[in-house]
Symmetry: C2
Subunit: 191 residues, 2 copies
C-alpha cells in the first residue's frame, strides 16, 4: 500500500499454443500448462430519455476524457444485462432508469467487445455526475454535442434511437455499414 | 505431452480483494498485485430451420452428454456474434446457415453467461455430426425429443421460436418468468 511502484507483470511465462482438444491458439503457461481463456467482453448501456431529451455523460477518465458518451460499461459477473445497464446509469449519472427494449447489438470485433444498448426512460429527471463523469446532461436532439462524441457507437446508438422514435420498426439494430461509420476512436473500455 | 498428470494449478496466490480505484472484489495476486478480471461470457447459437423442421444436435461431450441441444457455444475473440453463431452451426452440425434476426437474449446469471440466440435458416439440408455431436437431426415440432433436452434455455429458445413462427411479434425474447422454467441442468459451457 505504501509502495508507489507499479506491480510487476504476472510471473506466468505465457505463450501462444493450441491446447490439446482445442482448435485455436490460447495463452498457455510454459511452466504449468494453465490455459488463460480470454473471451470477448460484454458492454451494457442505455439511451435513456426524459421527454424528448436523452441522457449523456461527459467522460472524466481516459480514453476520450472530456468527450460525451452514453452511460455504459462492462457487465459484471452474475449480473443480468438489464441490471447491468441500470447499474451503469446509476454509477455514471446517478440516474434511475426503466429499461424498455433492446435498441442495438454492436460488434466491436477489433476490441472483442459486444455492446448491448437498451432503450430506457428516466424514472425522474434528477441526475448528477458520478465519479467517472465530469458532468451529465439531458439533451434534446438539436442540443447533442455531435462534434464531441466519445466513440462511434455512441453516435450509432443515438441515430438508431432517433429512427425508432420517428416510427421505424423496433427490431434491434446492428453495426451500420462501414461507409456510414467514418473512422474515429473506438472504446477500449466501456462505450 | 507424454506426461499424463494434469497440470498443477497456476502458482499465483490469488485472493479476493478490492483493487485501488475499483468498487468490488476481484481476484488479486498476493505476490505481484496482478488483477485477474473475470467477465461474463457470451454464448452464441441459433434455431436454424429447414422448412418446418429445426436443427438439433445430440451432445457427444459432458455436461449432458447424450442429450439434445441447439448449435451454440462461446463467442471467440475478434468475432461478431452472427459469425460466431454461424461458426458453431458448422462446428457442431456441419450446417451452413443464414442468420435472420435475434430471437432471444437469455441471462444465465448463475453462470455469468449471456446467450444470444439467432433465428436462422439452413442454406441446404446437408448436415452431419461435428466432433462435439453424436448425431444431428432435423425435427418437426412434434418430433422434438422434449424429454431429452440438454438445458432449459434450449427449451426456451424452441418455444420462443414457435411463438414467432405462429405470428407473434418478433421482439427478442428474454428469460421466461421463473415459474415457467422448472429446475433443471443449466449449461456450464455452451448451451
Amino acid at each position: 500500500m505504501s509502495d508507489p511502484r507499479p506491480p510487476p507483470p504476472p510471473p506466468h511465462p505465457f505463450a501462444r499454443a493450441v491446447p490439446e482438444g482445442d482448435d485455436r491458439e490460447r495463452l498457455v503457461c510454459g511452466d504449468c500448462g494453465f490455459v488463460l481463456y480470454d473471451n470477448p467482453k460484454i458492454v451494457v448501456g442505455s439511451v435513456a430519455r426524459w421527454g424528448d431529451k436523452v441522457l449523456m455523460c461527459r467522460r472524466a477518465i481516459d480514453p476520450r476524457k472530456g468527450f460525451w458518451t452514453l452511460p455504459a460499461g462492462y457487465l459484471e459477473l452474475n449480473e443480468s444485462t438489464r441490471a447491468g445497464a441500470e447499474r451503469e446509469a446509476w454509477e455514471e449519472a446517478r440516474a434511475k432508469i426503466a429499461i424498455e427494449s433492446l435498441l442495438a447489438i454492436y460488434d466491436i470485433t477489433r476490441l472483442s467487445q459486444v455492446q448491448l444498448i437498451y432503450r430506457a426512460r428516466l424514472v425522474d429527471a434528477a441526475v448528477s455526475a458520478g465519479p467517472e463523469s465530469l458532468e451529465v446532461a439531458l439533451f434534446s436532439w438539436d442540443e447533442i454535442p455531435w462534434d464531441d462524441i466519445a466513440f462511434p457507437s455512441v453516435r450509432w446508438a443515438l441515430l438508431h434511437e432517433r429512427e425508432v422514435e420517428q416510427g421505424g420498426d423496433s427490431t434491434p439494430r446492428g453495426n451500420p455499414p462501414p461507409d456510414e461509420s467514418p473512422p474515429g476512436p473506438v472504446a477500449p473500455q466501456g462505450l
